[in-house]
């Protein structure tokens, strides 16, 4: 009500063309609301009641009142304040220390009445600008609020969809679980006969293999005997065996006569049949004298192969681990991918071929066994597929539950931001905000991405919790904290990151506009009136 009256006064003043002249008489720096306390030519009581002084001590450039109320228009009181009317703009209080300090604070210039500072009255211009920007803001708010309604609607629908999907998934999960159990039984039933048949097949193969091995061993023994029996007298003597230093039991580099005798079971020489017992003691170490002959024992190449198989990925790992230490984490991740791929390939291809070279391969399964195996394999495949399907449903449910569980604001108006990302390009970096997920920064001209924080929580003040997002636990800083980002949300028609800064080391600030924070607008008239008192 008083607003309307004041506006009337102002327009009256304008009509008369003498702006300030109509100002209601009161001591300099006193707001209208306190005019009644400053009654002309009557003793003045300090507003805190601490003392009463003659009226001519008001604004006499000496501070008499403890609360500064006697010097509203001078800088005399350290705790005083000065009221500028700022006709055309917004009235304001400034600390009285800013009166006549040579700096224009009030747009109506009234604070610099005796300092020599030349101030321009900018109130009308500022008022115009403010009205313009308020108008723009009001329009934005209006449109933004409409968009927000839409967002709320969509979110609600989305939420319902998700809930529906979840229920649906719960249903199909149950079916899948049952299916998995049924197929598990089928699989286990099929696997038992398969196992038996395979074992049978393997056992007969093992026996056959053992025969072959013994045959080979015998051949080798005979060859060795001939080789050792240098004088071809039908006996292997101590002297003949002694040249085989590799058989030295204490590995001291010399094979003494006693040691050799020991190898020959205490005898000076042995014939072919006794050599059989000797052979079993020395065959693992024995090296053929014929240089061109390959090392004989059957097992050896297999061992080497196994060793190779184990050590291969090891040697692959090493240089990558090393590189990882020097480079950033992101690079590491890339390397890991490559590594996995490499690992998969070589051993599976090489091993069977190599085996085939040195060993007689197992004969194929007979048709009966093979059909059991095929049946079991099919049951396994069916089971695996069902299990995979169940896992997928589980994952989907988890994701849905997570999304449904997020705090997307009082009316889920922020839900549309989920799984979206917004970028802002500055001179040096591209900043990326993925709401409810993470904030990151990537140098424009090469270099790896830096994690500036993972979704933490809503962090606005009590009365507007949903105006600030906090992302924390980003990449660590040297000697400092982990990076974190505060995202300030303001009302806008569009969803955009408008600015970023790093006010403190590794603490980032991001400004983000979204319709989701737009408040129901007051009517434009209300807005303008609220800001334009006389």
């Amino acid at each position: 009500m008083s607003c309307a009256l004041l506006l009337l006064l102002m327009s009256l003043a304008l009509a008369m063309g003498t702006g300030a002249a109509v100002e209601i008489q009161r001591p300099r720096g006193v707001p209208l609301s306190k005019r009644q306390f400053y009654e002309e030519n009557k003793p003045f009581t300090c507003l805190d009641g601490s003392s009463t002084i003659p009226f001519d001590r008001i604004n006499d450039d000496y501070c008499d009142c403890r609360d500064g109320s006697d010097e509203p228009g001078t800088a005399a009181c350290p705790n005083g304040s000065f009221h500028c009317t700022n006709a055309g703009f917004r009235p304001a209080f400034i600390p009285s220390s800013r009166i006549n300090d040579g700096i224009c604070d009030c747009c109506d210039t009234t604070d610099e009445y005796n300092s020599g500072a030349t101030c321009q009255n900018t109130c009308r211009e500022m008022g115009r600008k403010e009205r313009e920007s308020l108008q723009i803001m009001a329009e934005i708010t209006k449109e933004g609020f409409m968009l927000k309604q839409q967002l709320i609607h969509e979110a609600k629908r989305g939420q319902e969809d998700k809930q529906g999907k979840l229920t649906e998934l719960q249903g199909s999960k149950k079916g899948l679980e049952e299916k998995v159990e049924a197929l598990r039984t089928v699989k286990e039933t099929a696997e038992d006969p398969e196992k038996e048949a395979k074992e049978r097949h393997l056992k007969s193969w093992e026996e056959q293999k053992e025969l072959i091995r013994m045959e080979k061993d015998k051949t080798r023994m005979a060859e060795a005997f001939l080789e050792l029996d240098d004088d071809a007298d039908g006996y292997v003597s101590v002297a003949e065996l002694q040249s085989h230093l590799e058989l030295d039991p204490d590995s001291d580099g010399s094979l003494t006569e006693t040691e050799t005798q020991g190898l020959l079971g205490g005898a000076d020489k042995v014939d072919t049949s006794t050599f059989e017992t000797v052979w079993s003691g020395i065959k693992d170490k024995y090296l053929s004298e014929g240089l061109s002959d390959p090392p004989a024992p059957v097992e050896t190449p297999q061992e080497e192969e196994t060793r190779d198989f184990v050590s291969d990925p090891d040697s692959d790992h090493y240089p990558e681990d090393y590189a990882g230490e020097e480079e950033d984490v992101e690079d590491d991740e890339e390397d890991d991918h490559e590594e996995e791929e490499e690992e998969k390939v070589p051993p599976t291809v090489q091993t069977p071929e190599k085996r085939a070279d040195d060993e007689v391969s197992m004969p194929p399964y007979d048709t009966e066994t093979q059909s059991l195996i095929d049946a079991a394999q099919k049951a396994r495949d069916d089971f695996d597929e069902a299990e995979r399907a169940l896992r997928e449903v589980d994952d989907q449910m988890k994701n849905l539950e997570k999304e449904i569980g997020f705090d997307f604001g009082p009316s889920a108006e922020f839900a549309y931001l989920y799984s979206q990302c917004y970028e802002l390009s500055t001179s040096e970096y591209i900043y990326r905000l993925c709401p409810f997920n993470r904030v990151s920064q990537k140098p424009k001209f090469g270099g790896s991405e830096t994690n500036l924080g993972l979704w933490g929580q809503w962090a606005g003040p009590e009365d507007s919790l949903y105006s600030v997002m906090k992302y924390d636990h980003g990449q660590g800083c040297w000697q400092g904290p982990n990076r974190s980002t505060t995202v300030k949300l303001t009302c806008g028609k569009e969803t955009v990151v408008t600015s970023t800064s790093e006010p403190s080391r590794c603490e980032y600030l991001m400004e983000f506009t979204t319709p989701a924070v737009c408040q129901e607008p007051a009517s434009l008239d209300e807005v303008l009136q609220g800001h334009t008192e006389l």
Binding site: P78, D101, W478, S501, E502, P503, S504, E507
Partner: protein, 793 residues
């Protein structure tokens, strides 16, 4: 040693010969029955007054002089970690001992993070003087820091003397004392039994190279020693008034918007400040004299914005120059041959903020003249008259050099860095200060802050205690560190408020503001990796506490300015240990948790975490002190327990003094220029008081060149307070007037009459607070530059 010169500087005349025999001579030092006895075998010098030996040189025979000799294996090349010192001249150190009979207290030889009273070094490391960029220095340690002033003061109840060992090479000082090891019981036993031994302190100085060049200052009072030393190295530069106000710094204010936001933050929270600082990140790739084109695209707009609020800025200009052929400063220095050379004759290069860097040879006067010319407004693009300079890293800091400094065999012309190392920083600051003077055509006083310094650095600006830490011990040590500097000429000293490394607790930050507000150079600073700590970031209550501390500083600026005028005039320190004013009060000799500002203010800041109270020593038998906040009167010569709260800053005004303040604290000191004064008259028990008032334009040399200043003596005697001109030859007009006079320890008058030179008399209204005996005279209104008298009846 045949070139020894013994001179009595004070009197500027030859010494007269009193007597002579084949083993020596006795010379008269002029008045005061002072004699110098020179003995040949063994060689020693004794300075006597009457029958007393004041000081002996070489009485312990530690004089050593490693003359130049032919190359000997093992004594030349020397390796420290991965660094090799070629030592082309071999060992060249010098040494001499001094004995001080009757002396138990020695002070000075900054810079060390140690107690004010120097400790004996028996069984430990000597005090080391070698300018170094020390990373996270330790307190209570004789290790070398950023600056070196080879001046030691000795003090006893009888006499104060000084030793100035003029040598800029690496220097070590050993101190031993015959009483230091004794327990209190032992000392008492000596006293009871009448021990024959008088206390004595022995000091030994060792320098790595150079000549023995020693000045002995005989005092006898502390004031005498200060002026004797000032006659040798000059006095404190008189800073612009605003430099005594509050400085807001941080590594780094990120960009122009950040600067504008912090500036606005001070206004929004009604906290005054005068300077905002930009650290190295403001430059284009650490190329000093340039601006980062993205963060600071319009430096003049930014500076104009500050100027519009009557505020100022400091930008950093370090002495390491990026080796970069597209950088003008580097190209010019290289083409002029102004870089320090390595031992092989090429330009010396080292690693610092910009990466590979050259180091201009500031010992070369031509280099300094060129450097100074780079501060001209048309050379330093984007600079304006409200922009001043900070020289950091001027030890010099060389990240990959031995002990993070320059190789000792690097060459400055014919001199090795070894010979003049501790002077490098001095010359950097000098060349910069001269540049700031030149850019204004010799009109404006410069302001330059430097980290490294040497004897005489006081002539060029301010220093700070370097990269301290946000710890209570570092707050405590700021007091003895600045007191030690003040004793040897450098009054304009401060520590980073809040602590540079680490993050202070809110309590520590508040206490540091309260302490810093009463130390000469008052600047908050913080490391790049610490969270922001502008004063309003700790809740409204702490903002209010910090605001109050800063406001106390601003209100007291007239007194600070006057103290600096005196420091400039006569070399008296601004911040003083108590013993300087109470030289016979042995209780004060090792005090360094409280201090005096000038003669008249005693400050005991709270530097203990969680303090509920502290004990301050109020000196002066028969004197009184007034709490400046409550006006309560306390007797001198007592330990006074003071309960404290988080808002307490215990400060006392000496009875017998008059201190001018400006009660109207505004957003910057410039805004307060024309404001009126309030005089605080603290009466002595004999109802007497005196003080001064100094006023000039606050920023030019006109006070000196054209005698444009007001210097008045204020005195209260016989119930009358008067203002009289102390400098009749001077001329200056001020708008300021006397707003209020507060007389502490007064009795109630029946009337108060103001008399002005035009013969007018007027009655002053007054208010008397009987409980505190405080008389407040209302609005004398007389101009601060004229004669006047107020008579109380």
């Amino acid at each position: 040693f045949n070139s020894m010169c013994v001179c009595a500087l004070r009197r500027q005349r030859a010494l007269s010969l009193l007597s002579q025999d084949e083993n020596g001579v006795v010379l008269s030092l002029g008045a005061d029955s002072q004699r110098l006895i020179v003995s040949a075998k063994p060689f020693r010098l004794d300075i006597m007054e009457g029958r007393e030996v004041l000081l002996s040189l070489n009485s312990r025979g530690l004089l050593a002089f490693e003359h130049l000799r032919i190359l000997e294996d093992g004594m030349w090349e020397e390796t420290f970690k991965s660094h090799t010192d070629s030592k082309p001249n071999g060992p060249s150190s010098i040494s001499l001992d001094f004995s001080l009979p009757g002396v138990e207290n020695v002070y000075g030889i900054p810079e060390h993070a140690d107690s004010l009273k120097l400790k004996t070094t028996d069984g430990g490391d000597p005090y080391r003087l070698f300018n170094l960029d020390v990373f996270q220095y330790e307190v209570f340690n004789p290790m070398a820091l950023y600056g070196a002033i080879p001046v030691m003061l000795s003090h006893s109840a009888q006499r104060t003397m000084g030793i100035f060992w003029l040598n800029a090479a690496e220097t070590w000082v050993d101190i031993s004392s015959n009483t230091a090891g004794k327990t209190v019981f032992g000392q008492m036993l000596d006293y009871v039994q009448g021990s024959s031994e008088t206390p004595q302190t022995d000091v030994r100085w060792i320098s790595e190279s150079g000549i023995i060049d020693v000045f002995i200052m005989l005092g006898p009072t502390p004031t005498d020693v200060f002026s004797q030393y000032a006659s040798l190295t000059g006095t404190q530069a008189f800073p612009p008034l605003s430099a005594l106000a509050y400085h807001q710094c941080r590594w780094n204010y990120n960009d122009q918007e950040d600067v504008a936001a912090v500036d606005q933050g001070f206004d929004d929270h009604d906290i005054p400040y005068d300077f905002i600082w930009l650290d190295i990140e403001h430059t284009d790739g650490k190329r000093y004299f340039t601006w980062d084109p993205h963060k600071f695209p319009q430096p003049k707009d930014m500076l104009q914005g500050l100027l519009d609020k009557r505020r100022k800025m400091v930008t950093i200009v370090d002495p390491h120059i990026k080796v970069d052929s597209s950088y003008k400063i580097h190209n010019e220095i290289r083409s002029k041959g102004f870089y320090v050379k390595s031992k092989d004759g090429g330009d010396y290069e080292g690693w610092c903020w910009p990466g590979n860097s050259g180091y201009p040879d500031f010992t070369n006067p031509e280099m300094r003249a060129w450097w100074a010319s780079m501060f001209a407004y048309d050379q330093y693009e984007g600079s304006m008259e409200n922009m001043y300079t900070w020289n950091d890293m001027n030890e010099p800091s060389v990240f990959n050099g031995p002990e993070v400094t320059m190789h000792k065999d690097a060459l400055h012309g014919n001199w090795e860095n070894r010979d003049l190392h501790n002077l490098y920083g001095f010359y950097v600051q000098r060349a910069t200060a001269e540049g700031l003077i030149e850019r204004s055509g010799g009109v404006e006083r410069p302001f330059v802050l430097a980290r490294a310094f040497f004897a005489g650095s006081q002539r060029y600006g301010a220093v700070w205690t370097g990269d301290n830490a946000a710890e209570w011990d570092h707050l405590k040590i700021s007091i003895p560190m600045c007191l030690s500097l003040g004793l040897v000429g450098v009054s304009f000293c401060g520590a980073d408020v809040g602590g540079f490394f680490k993050s202070p607790s809110t309590e520590l930050l508040v206490r540091w503001y309260q302490t810093g507000a009463y130390q000469p150079f008052f600047r908050a600073h913080a490391h790049l990796d610490t969270p922001r700590r502008e004063p309003w970031l700790f809740g409204p209550e702490n903002t209010a506490l910090i605001r109050e501390a800063v406001r106390q500083r601003y209100a007291l600026l007239p007194y600070w300015y006057q103290l600096f005028y005196h420091a400039h005039h006569s070399g008296q320190p601004v911040m003083r240990p108590l013993w300087v004013e109470y030289p016979q009060d042995t209780a004060t000799f090792s005090m360094d948790d409280q201090f005096l500002l000038g003669r008249d203010l005693l400050v005991h800041p709270v530097t203990e975490e969680g303090a509920r109270g502290l004990t301050a020593y109020l000196p002066g038998k028969g004197e009184v002190w007034f709490d400046v906040h409550t006006f309560q009167k306390h007797n001198g010569a007592q330990n006074l327990y003071i309960p404290v709260t988080i808002s307490s800053i215990p400060v006392f005004q000496r009875g017998g003094s008059i201190i001018p303040r400006k009660a109207r604290v505004r957003r910057s000191s410039s805004c307060m220029e024309h404001d009126p004064y309030t005089l605080f008259v603290a009466l002595s028990p004999k109802r007497f008081a005196q003080g001064e008032l100094y006023i000039d334009d606050g920023h030019t040399f006109n006070f000196d060149k054209h005698k444009q200043f007001i210097h008045r003596r204020l005195f209260f005697a016989n119930n009358a307070l008067s203002s009289r001109n102390l400098a009749p030859g001077s001329q200056f007009t001020t708008f300021s007037w006397i707003e209020k006079i507060v007389i502490l320890g007064a009795s109630k008058p029946s009337k108060a009459t103001l008399k002005t030179p035009d013969g007018k008399e007027s009655l002053l209204e007054f208010d008397f607070d009987a409980s505190m005996s405080v008389l407040t005279l209302r609005k004398p209104g007389v101009n601060a530059g004229v004669d006047w008298t107020v008579v109380l009846q």
